[in-house]
Symmetry: C2
Subunit: 155 residues, 2 copies
DNA sequence: GATGAAAGCCATATTGG
DNA sequence: CCAATATGGCTTTCATC
């Protein structure tokens, strides 16, 4: 028998989550209409999903170009000293331009997503990453973004 | 002289955007308090930011593990036939598990972010990607996510 | 866990400075 | 860009099943 019984995420919950991923500002009233439940019930379910951590938060989707950060890059990272205590993510978190940090299996230890205003700034950020993280970097520049952050689906 | 004068995104706009990235459900009343402007003004600015496309939308941030998609991977993609018309993104968009698709400079043509329920499903998705995209793949499994989707900043 | 009702708060439009 | 207003809709709580 399993150690714990995690509360289930049923189809209604998944419908609610999908609707909120599609539009994070959907009202509870609308949500109720979409999933066929009264507002109060939906409200209660969303609260539960938030408390369980299934819904971690809500955010605006921004156009990085319009915001003055037209240059994005994927940066693979390898620590200089594989034996050293690995607080690389904590240190890289101090570099504001690092939007995401994934710990990965394979040749490299981490993959980062970085957004900068100019190539010159990217150069500086890469230098920061190398020094504050004590890592080597391999950088792949993003030319365009056909799509990004689509809703999760288990098809 | 420049061909056009794109409307400026000033510091107040950036503060508004930052607040909405931090919490996409912030009310206009709260936004006003945070940036020190009346509700009506903030409302007007958010509308303008949405119309200009600076704010592209709002979305819920979900816990993929809790949603039953615990396995994420970064997939680098190389078309078999570099001369063929490049509608690879359109074709890859049909695979629901592909969350993001970036067109990149370098050895490979695209980098994908993929979320699946199980290793077996990842195997199937990779097969789908190769066949529907007519591409070769190189896959890096994500072990954990120290952080992801942090607010944009031009430091 | 689901529901319906009731209360207060908020979004939104409008007018005018 | 700000202030003021008005109304309809929404969030939130609570008692109930």
């Amino acid at each position: 028998m399993p150690a714990a019984t995690p509360p289930e995420v049923d189809d209604v919950d998944r419908a609610i989550v999908a609707a909120l991923v599609a539009d994070g500002r959907t009202s509870f009233t609308d949500l109720g209409r979409q999933v066929g439940l009264p507002t109060s019930t939906v409200h209660q379910r969303v609260r539960r999903l938030e408390q369980r951590g299934v819904l971690k938060g809500y955010t605006a989707v921004v156009d990085h170009e319009a915001l003055g950060l037209p240059l994005s890059a994927i940066v693979s990272v390898t620590p200089f000293d594989p034996a050293a205590p690995d607080d690389v993510p904590e240190r890289l978190a101090r570099v504001a331009e690092v939007e995401s940090c994934w710990s990965v299996a394979g040749e490299e230890s981490y993959v980062l997503l970085v957004r900068t205003a100019t190539p010159g700034r990217l150069e500086e950020v890469l230098a920061e990453i190398r020094t504050t993280g004590s890592v080597a970097t391999r950088t792949t520049v993003i030319l365009s973004t056909p799509f990004e952050g689509r809703p999760p689906s288990r098809s």
